[in-house]
């Protein structure tokens, strides 16, 4: 019986010829990631267990990104715990204020996540690196601690859902609209415990930024991981960037998929997920203009904080003003993206439009800091979750959308079709 791409990577890292769905395996880890929220709990577990050394400091990455720049004294203590541990154990891949980025923007950019890798991260959006053709999945702090101590993790080999992509994106439709559409179709537990395997003859039309956005939200369908084949887009992205050699795995032609869905990229429209689940999707054409007024528009995050995201937002906001009574917050994903956006003049466009531009942080996305919602307020956001209380008060609302929709909405003051602000694209 053939194996999926995910199963091939897991078999290789478990030192096995083949694996089958449901099999429990012990796999070697290439990379282990955690942040200022999850690392302190892992460090506490390591200390409790009396572990005094790191299995391989070169495979460990710490990013202080959630509550930084430190939002309060307790957050500062947590960031310090991570900093002290990284320094004590000579973890070179430690990123702090000034060099950091939002972890899932930063690791691909810095070439730390490599095609063919087996990666765990104590952050649910670790599945982002599937865009590169790696197996990457989110875990809790204890699994991470075990990985730091031993370099290994146990996995149950997942079954798979294949997403066959045809055609090309048109107009303002983006990778974000594809993943929101897919979650709307299969539901927030539609891929629970499974791998989402993206495939198609014409994948080269999907940029790496789009793929990173798509893989990022695989967890929002409950998936263990999302994964893209390695192609010319992957190779171009990785060239001169990756820190270790890549390994290319391909699904067998007779690999078994529980289900296969085909999505025509050309049919996708800008899509919005209404509160309070990412599966509550509607296309922009189903939302009457002016029907959903907003008080905040958030553009950024590990889902949509990359340069192409900022470019499309700036294109729509250029020469326009953020609507009265709307706060628009733009937060680039990494220091490098921030610098690139500055040099391209994007930051100037945002500031002249009346938007606030923030240092990279996960803050607003999870209701941490830098953009919290009051009771009854609504935000359109390019982030990944719209659960009750996600961005602030339990009676606030988050509408998930692409950077184009968030930028158009910031200008309009309500959830708006980008065509209304920027004309047809």
């Amino acid at each position: 019986m053939g194996m999926t791409m995910t199963q091939k990577i897991l078999a290789d890292h478990a030192g096995l010829e083949s694996v089958t769905e449901g099999q429990l395996i012990n796999a070697k880890l290439d990379l282990m990631l955690s942040n200022d929220i999850t690392a302190p709990v892992a460090i506490r577990e390591l200390e409790k267990a009396g572990v005094t050394s790191v299995f391989d400091a070169n495979r460990v990455v710490f990013v202080n990104d959630h509550f930084v720049p430190n939002k309060d004294i307790k957050a500062a203590q947590q960031a310090k715990t991570v900093r002290d541990f990284a320094n004590k154990h000579n973890v070179e891949a430690f990123y702090d204020t000034g060099t950091m980025g939002i972890e899932h923007c930063l690791l691909p950019e810095q070439g730390l996540a490599v095609p063919g890798d087996c990666i765990i991260g104590a952050d649910s959006h670790t599945c982002t690196y599937g865009a590169l053709g790696a197996f990457a999945t989110g875990v809790g702090s204890t699994d991470l601690a075990f990985g730091i101590a031993t370099g290994m993790a146990w996995f149950k080999v997942p079954s798979a859902i294949k997403i066959n992509l045809t055609g090309e994106l048109t107009g303002y439709a983006s990778g974000k609209d594809l993943i929101l559409h897919l979650i709307g179709m299969i539901g927030v537990d539609g891929a629970r415990y499974k791998s989402l395997e993206f495939a198609g003859d014409n994948l080269s039309s999907l940029s790496m930024d789009d793929r990173l956005t798509i893989a990022n939200m695989a967890i929002e369908a409950g998936a263990k991981n999302g994964i893209f084949p390695v192609d010319s887009v992957t190779r171009n992205y990785c060239e001169g960037r990756i820190k270790r050699p890549m390994q290319v795995f391909e699904a067998d032609s007779d690999a078994v998929y529980e289900q296969t869905y085909t999505i025509d990229l050309g049919s996708l429209r800008p899509t919005v997920a209404f509160p309070h689940l990412p599966e509550n999707t509607r296309t922009i054409d189903e939302i009457p203009a002016g029907s959903v007024e907003i008080q905040q528009s958030v553009i950024g995050s590990c889902t949509n904080g990359r340069l192409s995201d900022l470019r499309i937002a700036a294109q729509l906001m250029k020469g326009k003003k953020v609507a009265k009574n709307v706060r628009c917050i733009v937060f680039p994903g990494t220091q490098q993206i921030y610098l690139d956006a500055l040099r391209e003049g994007l930051i100037e466009i945002f500031i002249e439009a009346g938007a606030a531009v923030s240092t990279p942080t996960c803050g607003p996305c999870l209701g941490g800091h830098m953009g919290i919602l009051a009771e009854g307020e609504r935000a359109v956001s390019t982030t990944n979750r719209n659960f009750v209380g996600r961005m602030g008060h339990k009676d606030s609302e988050v509408y998930l959308a692409s950077p184009a929709v968030a930028a158009a909405s910031a200008v309009a003051g309500y959830i708006a079709n980008p065509e209304e602000i920027g004309g047809e694209k």
Binding site: H66, V139, S141, T142, D189, R192, F387
Partner: protein
């Protein structure tokens, strides 16, 4: 091992953001997490919950963030077991890793109501609803997972 307690009942897709909102993740002490557990969907939970109580819920319990603070908060609040129609995968692993017993049992998730007295036998997987005089059977944990829970967690 057997536990018993009063049930707190919730619906589908209880996410880790409502189990413990991120605004409280600037520290991770069990007492702090327990004090804010379930705050955004059940403000009275932290003050009502008693040692040994049980949570029963619908599908996809614990979806969303990987924060281990979520099962830690539930455990620190005194909950002895979570029974659900199904669990999100990261939460499932995390609960086992920190020794919070959880059981997948759609039949129990449907049959149990808020306030019911329920007992759970982890060796057999039998869930007894004392209030309604009903029994439901869940798949018991395999030995290696029982062992992790009995030890007090993966790193214990």
């Amino acid at each position: 091992m057997t536990v018993s307690g009063m049930v707190h009942k919730y619906g589908d897709n209880v996410d880790t953001d409502v189990i413990i909102p991120a605004r409280y993740l600037n520290e991770s002490s069990p007492a702090h997490l327990a004090a804010h557990c379930m705050e955004d969907i059940d403000a009275a939970f932290a003050s009502n919950v008693k040692q040994g109580d049980i949570i029963a819920a619908g599908a996809n319990f614990g979806c969303g963030s990987s924060r281990e603070h979520a099962p830690l908060a539930i455990k620190a609040a005194g909950v002895s077991c979570v029974i659900a129609d199904s669990f999100a995968r990261i939460f499932y692993r995390n609960a086992i890793n920190i020794a919070l017993p959880i059981l997948e049992c759609p039949e129990a998730a449907r049959g149990i109501s808020a306030g019911d007295e329920v007992s759970v036998d982890f060796d057999s997987g039998i869930i007894t609803n004392i209030t309604k005089n009903e029994q439901y059977t869940a798949q018991p944990f395999p030995a290696f997972i029982q062992d992790i829970i009995n030890r007090g967690g993966l790193m214990a």
